[in-house]
């Protein structure tokens, strides 16, 4: 039925011999239309202040931040099972400043995954991981889509391509397997792809989190790491380097590395065995005997050198950075001299010092709003330090990625 509808979704009218008008009816609903006004929101980000949100507008060839701040979290937490997803009564609304036509979610879920892989491994990994994160869907209830119950296939061979297994995996188009919905995009480095996925019940819940008929409604749902990837796109230093840069995204519980070549993602890794900035703060706090309120001040100040306390956390990341840069140099002949470190609320300067000592590469940590026009009336936003602005990194990245068609 859907294929039949797709056949009739476009109509070509030949007005003259040389002039033809094509009407894409599927665009009438705004389905694939490029978005120009999006509010990016980080969900389940474990921030006590609420959900970081950034409203980004693209007009007259420029990118404008209309509002940035923390919005109250939804009354209900991200569901962990189908039952929770079915029971919840969702009616979430955002403050007026963030009521753009569309919203882009960056979801932090323990069941989410984002990784660089190959098309062959795509299906194999899913088959093995899916039963761990998905449960058998309960009987259908109003407003919740029933998932097709699939029998677990025989152990696949690594050489089995996704297409051969009957999965219709196309770049940028969500697919589903064993209760997990995933999407992939090919990387600039063939044959690798970047793949992100979430359990189906969480996606169903998220897709109905914002009620229809009121601003905003959900236009994009991404995993938190995948949302980070687009946050550098408008950075002046990133563009000055021709899009050849490396980024270390230090998040609360994990660290991600991303390599860009000509602005295209070429490498994405999650640092194995590395804790995020929360553990680093805890370590510094315990090692130096600081109060909770003092940690960020110490990490941003030059009075006390916390590098000895940071080293156990930073050193493995720098080792991974060195490995990654060597890989890019040897495999792609790509010499990176611009490395960003993003996402940390404090301590970036010490990361940079330690990197310069170890690798002779300084790390850059600009404000996430660099290169974007900020609202003139919002003095608080304009006064945000680069460290404080990092809280909005994922929200900005989610909004920017959703507006990819406007790039």
């Amino acid at each position: 039925m859907a294929r039949i509808l797709l056949l009739f979704s476009k109509m070509k009218l030949q007005l003259t011999k040389t002039k033809t008008v094509e009407i894409d009816f599927s665009r009438l609903g705004g389905g694939r239309k490029g978005l120009s006004d999006v509010t990016g929101v980080v969900l389940n980000g474990s921030d006590t202040r609420g959900c970081p949100a950034v409203r980004l507008v693209h007009k007259k060839g420029g990118w404008h931040v209309v509002a940035a701040g923390f919005v109250p979290s939804p009354m209900e937490a991200l569901p962990e099972t189908w039952d929770e997803a079915n029971k919840s009564q969702m009616s979430w609304s955002l403050p007026q400043a963030f009521q753009a036509p569309s919203a882009a979610f960056a979801v932090n879920s323990p069941h989410a995954f984002t990784r660089q892989t190959t098309p062959d491994a795509l299906t194999v990994d899913l088959v093995h991981t899916a039963p761990k994160v998905s449960a058998t869907p309960p009987p259908r209830k109003l407003g919740v889509r029933r998932l097709e119950k699939k029998t677990e296939p025989a152990t696949p061979k690594p050489s089995d391509a996704a297409g051969e297994k009957g999965l219709d995996v196309k770049p940028g188009v969500p697919s589903q397997s064993n209760g997990v919905r995933f999407v992939m995009q090919p990387l600039a480095e063939n044959p690798f792809v970047i793949q992100a996925g979430l359990p189906e019940y969480q996606l169903v819940w998220l897709s109905h989190l914002l009620p229809e008929g009121r601003r905003p409604t959900v236009a994009s749902i991404q995993t938190l790491p995948s949302a980070l990837l687009a946050s550098l796109c408008e950075q002046p230093e990133f563009n000055a380097a021709g899009g050849n840069a490396f980024a270390i995204y230090v998040m609360r519980h994990s660290v991600y590395l991303a390599g860009y070549k000509d602005g295209q993602l070429i490498l994405f890794r999650s640092c194995p065995g590395v804790a995020g900035w929360e553990m680093l703060r805890e370590g510094v706090k315990l090692r130096l005997g600081l109060d909770e309120e003092m940690v960020d001040e110490i990490l941003d100040d030059a009075l006390i050198d916390p590098r000895s306390a940071m080293e156990p956390f930073v050193r493995p990341v720098l080792q991974q950075l060195e490995i990654s840069l060597d890989y890019l140099r040897s495999r792609h002949n790509l010499y990176i001299d611009k490395v960003f470190i993003m996402g940390m609320p404090s301590g970036a300067r010490y990361w940079s010092q330690m990197s310069e000592e170890a690798l002779r590469i300084p790390l850059v940590s600009p404000s996430v709003f660099e290169g974007l026009s900020l609202p003139a009336k919002d003095a608080e936003l304009a006064a945000l330090t680069p460290s404080k602005s990092q809280a909005f990194l994922a929200a900005l990245g989610a909004a920017r990625a959703a507006m990819e068609d406007n790039a």
């Binding site: 599927s26 009438l28 609903g29 705004g30 389905g31 694939r32 036509p101 569309s102 984002t114 770049p171 940028g172 969500p174 919905r181 995933f182 999407v183 992939m184 995009q185 090919p186 970047i194 793949q195 992100a196 996925g197 979430l198 996606l203 998220l206 897709s207 914002l210 229809e212 008929g213 009121r214 601003r215 905003p216 409604t217 959900v218 236009a219 994009s220 749902i221 991404q222 995993t223 995948s226 990837l229 687009a230 796109c233 563009n239 021709g242 899009g243 860009y260 000509d262 602005g263 295209q264 993602l265 990625a401 959703a402 990819e404 790039a407």
Partner: protein
Amino acid sequence: MNAPKLHLNLLRDSERQSSSPVRLRVMLPILAAFACLGCLVWWGVLAGQLILAKAKVSSLQSDLDAKKAAHSGILKQMGDARELQAELDQLKMYANGRRTYGGLFKELANVVPEGVQLLSLEIPEPAAQQLLPPGAKPGPTVRPLLGPTNTVENVALRIIGRTPRETPVEQLMKSLAEPAFTNTLVIAKDVPADQISPRVRSFHQDASPDEQGMRLLSFDVEYRCVERRFEK
């Protein structure tokens, strides 16, 4: 630098919802239904008009069939009327072409001088006109024309008499040139010779075996009469 492809959107297009208070997915079917309804009404109106037109055509057809008989009768009557009218016209033309000579002869008695003896007053009958249709041969089935094909007919008054001398004849001719006779007789002198009226056909010594015959003159004078015109 190429545009990046970094959007890993897990939301399906079918799950996208509109933020518009008027939902497109609701409005589209309603608009489609209204469009269909409008088309149906339009087609209904067209069908109604077609049925009415067909009924009108059949009604007119039956009316036409009914009037055809009357029409043929009327056509026949009109033909008859035309024929009768033609006959009437011919009769009228005959009436208009009729010439009376009674007054001429009555007045003639008053103007004949004493020395003139009229032996004959004759208006010769003109040649019979062709009343058959062109190319038709006479026969019982051939219907003759209602009127003459030649609408103008000329006749003449021929006066034959005797007189002892010329003067009474000249006096008679002078009297006949007076207005009392010119409405019937034509007086034309300054015209070609064959059209002169009156024309003296003969004036000579009378050859009858009478005692006084040797002293009498015989004359024959022809007057053209006003032509008969078969016109309305």
